[in-house]
């Protein structure tokens, strides 16, 4: 903390007040590890949350966080700034977790098949998901397939736009809208199966 304070005085900018994109630019210009440390302290918890939600295993989630941050550091120069840094970071995190699950299942279509094949009924209200008791939310998120889970996390936890999700999953915007609709229905169905209300 003290070193950060001295550093902020010397450089004239406080790391904690800087935007992510500015930190990335400063890191690329100076290669100073302090900038990367700041990105790590801002996002490691969030990345861990996604990894443990998707991988359902603490040790695997920790390994994933480690590998994701190494990957990010090595690819930081490829960050173009077209999207928010957080969106770019989350896209790497989701794709890493999805690839890990695919490799374990040894089925390249394991993710794609998750949210297809059930009937499209009425649209589910967003409030049904957003206002759900957190303990129930945890139970249901543990039960839904990984494809459903990741799309719900992108939409409701990361508050990504349809366009951002479509870029991450390499699908058209209309396909993403349909996937979200189906994911909400799957969520509601599992909720009903468990709690009957």
């Amino acid at each position: 903390m003290f070193i950060d304070f001295i550093y902020a005085l010397l450089t004239g900018n406080s790391l904690s007040k800087m935007k992510d994109e500015e930190i990335v630019q400063e890191y690329l210009a100076t290669q100073n590890a302090r900038y990367f440390d700041q990105l790590y302290s801002r996002y490691s918890g969030k990345v861990y949350g996604k990894c443990i939600s998707l991988l359902k295993n603490e040790a695997a989630a920790e390994d994933a966080v480690q590998e994701i941050f190494v990957k990010i550091l090595l690819n930081l120069s490829k960050f173009s700034g077209k999207s928010k840094f957080s969106t770019w970071l989350y896209s790497i995190s989701y794709n890493f977790c999805i690839d890990t699950i695919r490799r374990k299942k040894k089925n390249p279509n394991a993710f794609a098949d998750d949210i297809t094949g059930h009937e499209i009924a009425d649209d589910v209200d967003d409030r049904f998901l957003l206002e759900m008791n957190i303990e129930r939310l945890k139970v249901i998120m543990d039960r839904v397939p990984v494809g459903v889970k990741s799309i719900l996390l992108m939409k409701y936890q990361d508050e990504m736009s349809i366009k951002e999700i479509s870029a991450i999953l390499s699908k058209s915007e209309s396909a993403i809208k349909m996937k979200i609709k189906r994911a909400k229905q799957k969520f509601k169905k599992i909720h009903y199966e468990i709690y009957k209300d």
């Binding site: 590890a33 440390d37 790590y40 302290s41 490691s44 918890g45 969030k46 861990y48 949350g49 443990i52 939600s53 920790e62 966080v65 480690q66 941050f69 190494v70 550091l73 090595l74 409030r127 998901l129 957003l130 206002e131 759900m132 008791n133 957190i134 939310l137 945890k138 998120m141 719900l152 996390l153 409701y156 936890q157």
Partner: protein, 77 residues
């Protein structure tokens, strides 16, 4: 502000991660250090290794001009 328990869930995981944050950072730094070390080794020795391969494949090393050594004063003819 609309309630969002997906965000609450995220905060819960973040709090859980607080105890592991520093430990994992050490591991990340270790991995990055190793990658940088290997990168430096390559950067330092790759030209020599390529030179050796080139020499072994029959491309003789560039010989220095023997006349250049004879010159006592570099800027004179």
């Amino acid at each position: 502000m609309k309630p969002n328990n997906f965000k609450s869930l995220e905060h819960e995981y973040e709090n859980e991660f607080d105890t592991k944050r520093e430990q994992l950072k050490t591991k990340v730094d270790g991995s990055i250090g190793l990658i940088k070390f290997i990168g430096n080794i390559f950067e330092l020795y790759l030209p020599q290794v390529l030179g050796v391969f080139g020499y072994m494949s029959g491309n003789p090393r560039k010989k220095e001009n023997p006349d250049a050594k004879k010159k006592k004063y570099p800027n004179t003819k």
